[in-house]
């Protein structure tokens, strides 16, 4: 079990580190080249490699054939690829690739040391469960405002852009304040941005309802230890479901057999149809 566990989590950590360094390097190269430093690398904007850019410019693309200022066709390509991946395996982008999610997890490790088992369970559930739908409002507002203004309105509040460009002087104060708030909140709540505000996570999360390969729990072998529930950063009750169809699942695979689940072949990824869903 330990070998399997280390493989999945190690793979995830490696992917997260690679993505974080890659995005940081892209932002740094652009900044240095704009500052006049000669570097034999292409100058790529972070907006060009953000799949959410593709989401907000879809309306512009469909109605005029063009893109919102600052965006590039690569964002549309990444959006399409991300949606296909989510259709099969869920929001793997969130659980593995998103550097802002990784940043929150890193800060969260400090929070876990401080609050121990209370970490990520400090917010009353009756507030938490309603706040989880806030990100859909954010998604609708951002897409609508972008369509109406034809401007990248989200950039002014985007903590992802702020995280990698805070030193460039090009980040709006509002985005820096939101990044600071997300960072502080991560000490109390795991992935607060993902849970309550992320519009791209909201969109990808919907694919949990229809994904081909959801997380499934085999009742016949489950020992009801609830370790899967404790491991889930999004507080999903995996232990009460046959198939995890929760819109908040980020496909981090922390709940699976060989990772959190101590019983082999019990919490798995499978296309076989199950019964009750979480």
């Amino acid at each position: 079990m330990n070998t399997k566990r280390s493989r999945v989590q190690t793979l995830r950590a490696v992917v997260q580190w690679v993505m974080f360094i890659l995005v940081a390097a892209i932002a740094l190269v652009k900044y240095l080249k704009e500052s006049g430093v000669v570097i034999p690398l292409p100058e790529i904007s972070l907006h060009a490699v953000c799949p959410f850019g593709g989401v907000v410019t879809v309306y512009e693309f469909l109605t005029t054939g063009g893109l919102i200022q600052k965006l590039h066709s690569s964002a549309l390509v990444l959006m399409a690829l991300g949606l296909v991946v989510a259709f099969f395996f869920g929001p793997i982008f969130c659980g593995y690739f998103c550097p802002l999610g990784t940043w929150q997890e890193w800060i969260g490790k400090l929070g876990k040391r401080i609050f121990k088992r209370k970490y990520n369970r400090l917010l009353p559930s009756f507030i938490d469960k309603y706040l989880r739908y806030l990100r859909y409002i954010v998604l609708v507002l951002v897409v609508y405002q972008t369509a109406v203004t034809a401007k990248l309105v989200f950039a002014d509040v985007d903590p992802y852009y702020a995280l990698f460009n805070f030193y460039t002087g090009e980040v709006a104060l509002s985005a820096l304040l939101i990044l600071a708030a997300v960072t502080v909140l991560s000490l109390f709540v795991e992935r607060p941005w993902c849970k309550y505000f992320c519009p791209y996570g909201a969109l990808l999360g919907l694919f949990n309802l229809i994904r081909v390969f959801p997380v499934r729990r085999r009742e016949e072998t489950c020992i009801n230890c609830k370790k899967c529930d404790v491991a889930c950063p999004m507080n999903i009750k995996v232990s009460t479901a046959k198939a995890v169809r929760d819109h908040q699942c980020i496909s981090c695979h922390e709940c699976l057999s060989g990772v959190a689940c101590p019983v082999e072949d019990t919490v798995i990824i499978s296309s076989a149809k199950g019964g009750r869903q979480a």
Partner: protein, 168 residues
């Protein structure tokens, strides 16, 4: 069908890489914008002050990321006039970006910005330009337009009410 998480991740990564490679091969993978501005649409040519400007670049496509050198190259406005109009030191004018106006015109309302440059270039070159927002010009820019451009009475009236004094 059961699938291992490692398999799901590897398949996802391979799919994304293949998608990027495929879109690159098809010419869909663009991570940089063509810095060349669009040319004026043919239906707008009849609005132009000077027919000799046919095929000129559209001043409305001036972007905040353009340097004065870009504007000089595309719109053929002398660097010296751009520097004088917007009170930028001549030795750093070539690399000065339009979006950096806020560093020299720290007006809380941001009245001198990219649209001011669009307006200045359009009127300087006698190109059609539709004002979409209220744009202001620094006093030296207005003076240069009055001296070197063929501005209309209507434009003169606009300058009279949309010129801001700058600190030397």
């Amino acid at each position: 069908m059961k699938i291992r998480p490692q398999t799901a991740i590897v398949l996802s990564i391979l799919f994304v890489l293949a998608g990027i490679l495929g879109s690159w091969a098809l010419g869909w993978w663009q991570t940089q914008t063509d810095r060349t501005p669009q040319r004026l649409e043919s239906q707008r040519l009849e609005d132009m002050t000077s027919p000799s400007q046919a095929g000129a670049y559209d001043p409305d496509d001036i972007r905040g990321s353009y340097t004065f050198e870009d504007i000089n190259r595309f719109y053929e406005v002398p660097l010296a006039d751009l520097a004088a109009a917007f009170t930028v030191d001549t030795d750093r004018a070539a690399g000065f970006k339009v979006k950096d106006f806020e560093t020299i015109f720290p007006d809380p309302d941001g009245e001198i910005g990219t649209s001011s440059m669009k307006l200045f270039v359009a009127w300087y070159k006698g190109l059609p330009y539709e004002l979409k927002e209220e744009s202001f010009l620094p006093a030296p820019a207005a003076a240069i337009l009055r001296e070197k451009a063929e501005i209309t009475l209507e434009q003169e009236e606009y300058l009279n009410t949309h010129t801001l004094e700058t600190q030397e």
